[in-house]
Symmetry: C2
Subunit: 593 residues, 2 copies
């Protein structure tokens, strides 16, 4: 199996130059996050990811998980690596210092997270979920609950889960039926119900698991306004924090999935399990959503990470595999010399860099939205974050399907053989457009909540920034003219599509839904290309002023141009699909399908 | 597991109205192929596919294949079904009557083939390969060899294989190293070498397997001009045709693949195996290519077939799964009522119908190219067939990736669970862009051999036909105006891209290679949309003159419009990618990747 080499150089470039580390580490608490420190962290995390975690990837895929006596067993090899990861403090890198976290910007934590996802997606999800759950406990849990569980969740000594889905309640959480009744102790609750698709819902890597469970207090209203959020430990916790007897929650089974085999996806049965209320009664969905922005950015990042791993494997193969002749060469050549193979590699490379930059830029907005001292800045940064989140989640994971598939294609017939490893990336990537809200849910969120609801205010601010980049591109004349022209057309496409949306979305309820996917893909392609254009401007400046690393910046110019030529034109097609509206989509009767 | 219902109505519409059965069954030998007969054949084949073969699909996926003592064992359940298939005469439906075939048009055989592929792709490939090999024996084998093997191959009593690939010789067959030496009997040859990726290379369903093997006579020239084609039986054949002792060819192993688990993909070791020469010495590649047009159309058809199966499963789920509310409904609704789910289903439906029509139209050209009494017609039909073949193979299989992936997406989290079945279609489909020539090979074939080499003659003829459809669309005014406008723009895109190609492809050898994929996708999207536009014209006529089945034709209008609105605009993006040339694709040094 191929290894993994963390792309620390590109990550550092994005963190420093595109996401603007200097605008993050001027915020209270983040001052220590200098470029040098970040570079050192990336180096160390990259080594861990490449040398210790990456070898788990194939093992987890082959071994999968199983249930024995209501207990999930994961690959034996996962455990010592998880313990090392926890003891080295990586889980809590961007958690607050108040509960033992390291208090670094989320922007830095995201880069570390990308490495772990690239190294072993199935394994990495456990920490993603734990830290999301910890955040919910930190924000909504009372002091007593926090004292019991929070430090251990942040450190990773215990893990956490999100228990939302039930057989009849997937995308629509209003249909959740799990019930809670007050416990006779007058403090806690007893939860009963069945939850499905619970990622890392049980395992044998830690002494306890804290489940955050959406359930309905007996007598609560129907719909989402009757949902409350409870923290339900796998093992009861004594007043002194020690782990006691088993709680009444059991892993019934694990799913047989297409990919991420190393990650247990559980059916959990709650049968009067003792739980602690988080936040207020009947406000559970809001509590759950406090971790959603993080989680959705993280899953969007998975699209980047798995594509990066697939790219590295394909690139290695393309540089080694000898096949076919080429004018100017005496003997058969490595396939990277064939133009169509290069096209595939350039396609992967340029999309990955665009996706990474977009995700990291969103993370920088999150840091500023949470930490900036000025409330107005927090609000505007928060609005941009909210606009970008469904784009990062939806677009990066949709593209992850295409890119991992191309990675397999580069291998030809070898790609179809499981031992090659390319197929696993495709299989693993396939979940990312589904969990934490399908692409359809992201698209509805983007168009409905993030654009129509604020009457396009956040979108207009984004468009203004896009136009500012146009002015910067213009300053570099012919060098960046191709990129500028393509970006300009794509900005026009976004403006036209959003004008169409505001003019037509009110007509009937199906219009926004029918065009939302194409709108999201337009926005993703454009904002991704925008990041590459910004990188090209910086590269042109560095090259003009003289740099020690011209090759890196020349590469950025080429990558941005390739994306401008081959990807940005898609926005015209997406725009036309949007402007066609929903009539043809909705025209058939169900029998006519 | 879901079943399969053959889409006989759409198939018959395409065969009769788009592919022009009346221009096929006026050819010598095909007169009996009336619409009624074809309808009856489709009905019967559809029943077989749905009731007998479809249940094999999941079984083959779960059981896979294995090697025991040099013998491949396939799923036990495959064998009786294969025997019934053979005894009912389905294998030979479009083979010539001279050797026991049924002599029906390939156009009809293709529809039957689509059903078998939809029902169980892994199982269906065995017959695809056997009939391709039989065709090569029929055309290139001498009378003695034909007497020994041909009738049994055509009937399916014995199966056939194509042995091309070796570890160092995949897309580049010039690198084939397998050797042949004359046998001491003065008639045959002894073949030695290792072949890999041999689909259905061995199995236990029949008494014999006839391998067609590319090898190099000792002392033959290097490169493709030194290759000869040999028929190597698994068991030696006596003069009276009886199966004798094992020949020196052994199944060493079967691959562990992403999909088509039911189909054994073999490593075969030839160790002085006795073989018969096919055609002339050193002309093996040409002999092999006589089956390539058929085989490539068949694999293109697999893209249609597996997408159709995925669509049926997704549609069933979307009509049954209740999730979420909708304005105007009191209770939660089935998800087919949600616009984004409908968009996915319409996307699948319209692409599948476009792809099917394109593949069947190509098959009709094949029938006329082979059977028309007028040599000039045979030539022009052959040129069109050659132009369309890489488009059908490349575009339909590339789209098959997207469509099976969407099929999974419609299921949400359930799609990721293997038991649902949607994931298998994605896994199975993934090989189709690779075997029988990767998409890159198809694109190079299209741009190099089929367009540049005849200076665009075949392409110009296609464009003339496209413009004839424009005139027909115009006659229906507003009703088809959206479709006409979109098709017109896409025709412009094809013309512009081909003008660009002729102006720039001579500049350096990499240009054509770098733009070929986008050119192929442009041509596929356009020619697929063209078929739907032709269907819309017919539908408009039928509706205007009154029809007993208005719902069917109204559906055709909607499907064509949806494709015109959402798919045809992609040709603009492909065109711009073509017109960008190969500079950015080729600019990086290998170290800069």
């Amino acid at each position: 199996m191929s290894g993994y080499q963390a792309p620390t150089k590109d990550m550092l470039f994005v963190i420093r130059d595109l996401a603007g580390l200097d605008k993050i580490n001027n915020l209270p608490g983040f001052e220590g996050a200098t470029v040098d420190l970040v570079a050192a962290i990336l180096e160390e995390a990259g080594q861990l990811a490449g040398e210790v975690i990456a070898p788990l990837n194939r093992i987890g895929d082959a071994k999968g998980t199983r249930v024995e006596d209501g207990q999930v067993i994961v690959a034996e090899e996962f455990k010592p690596v998880y313990r090392q990861f926890v003891s080295d403090g990586w889980t809590s890198i961007s958690q607050s210092t108040e509960h033992g976290g390291q208090g670094l910007p989320y922007l830095v934590g995201l880069a570390v997270e990308e490495m772990m996802q690239s190294a072993c997606l199935a394994w990495s999800i456990c920490t993603l979920l734990t830290q999301g759950a910890a955040r919910a406990v930190e924000i909504h849990g009372d002091a007593a609950l926090q004292a019991l569980v929070l430090d251990k969740m942040i450190s990773g000594e215990w893990t956490g889960t999100m228990n939302l889905t039930e057989p009849q309640a997937g995308s629509d959480l209003a249909a959740v039926r799990s019930q809670a009744v007050p416990d006779q102790d007058g403090k806690g609750y007893r939860i009963t119900g069945q939850k499905i698709f619970i990622t890392w819902g049980d395992h044998d890597m830690t002494d306890n698991v804290i489940h955050l469970v959406l359930a309905r207090l007996v007598g609560a209203p129907e719909g989402i306004k009757g949902l409350s959020l409870f923290a339900v430990p796998k093992f009861r916790i004594d007043a002194d924090g020690a782990v006691g007897e088993r709680n009444h929650v059991t892993a019934v089974s694990v799913e047989h999935k297409l990919g991420i085999h190393g990650s247990p996806t559980c059916v959990l049965a709650f049968e009067g399990a003792y739980g602690y209320l988080l936040g207020e009664l009947h406000n559970g969905l809001a509590c759950m959503f406090t971790m959603m922005n993080h989680a959705r950015l993280s899953v969007g990042l998975e699209g980047v990470a798995i594509s990066e791993r697939a790219y590295q494997l394909a690139l290695t193969y393309a540089k080694e595999r000898v096949q076919g002749n080429k004018v100017g060469y005496d003997a058969a050549v490595t396939i990277i010399k064939h133009p169509d193979v290069r096209r595939m590699l350039m396609h992967m490379k340029s999309y990955i860099e665009a996706m990474r930059a977009l995700a990291y830029v969103a993370a920088a907005h999150l840091d500023r939205a949470h930490h900036h001292p000025d409330k107005a800045v927090r609000a505007s940064e928060g609005a941009r974050l909210e606009l970008l989140t469904p784009i990062v989640k939806g677009w990066c994971t949709e593209m992850g399907q295409e890119l991992t598939s191309i990675g397999l294609q580069v291998h030809g017939g070898m790609g179809y053989i499981e031992e090659t490893g390319a197929a696993q990336y495709l299989r693993d990537a396939r979940i990312t457009t589904i969990y934490e809200g399908t692409t359809g849910i992201q698209a509805a969120d983007l168009v409905g909540r993030k654009i129509l609801r604020d009457r396009g205010a956040a979108l207009q601010s984004l468009i203004a920034d896009l136009k500012a980049t146009d002015a910067e591109l213009e300053r570099h004349g012919d060098l960046l003219a191709t990129i500028r022209a393509a970006l300009g057309e794509s900005v026009n496409d976004l403006e036209a599509a959003s004008e169409w949306l505001f003019a037509h979305a009110g007509a009937n309820a199906d219009v926004a839904g029918a065009v939302s996917f194409n709108f999201l893909m337009l926005a993703g392609t454009l904002t991704g290309g925008w990041q590459l254009a910004r990188a090209a401007v910086l590269a042109a400046e560095r090259l003009a002023e003289g740099t020690e690393d011209p090759s890196f910046y020349e590469t950025k110019l080429v990558t941005a141009r390739f994306f401008a030529e081959q990807a940005l034109p898609l926005t015209g097609a997406y725009r036309r699909a949007v402007e066609s509206g929903g009539d043809a989509t909705m025209a058939l009767s169900e029998e006519q399908f």
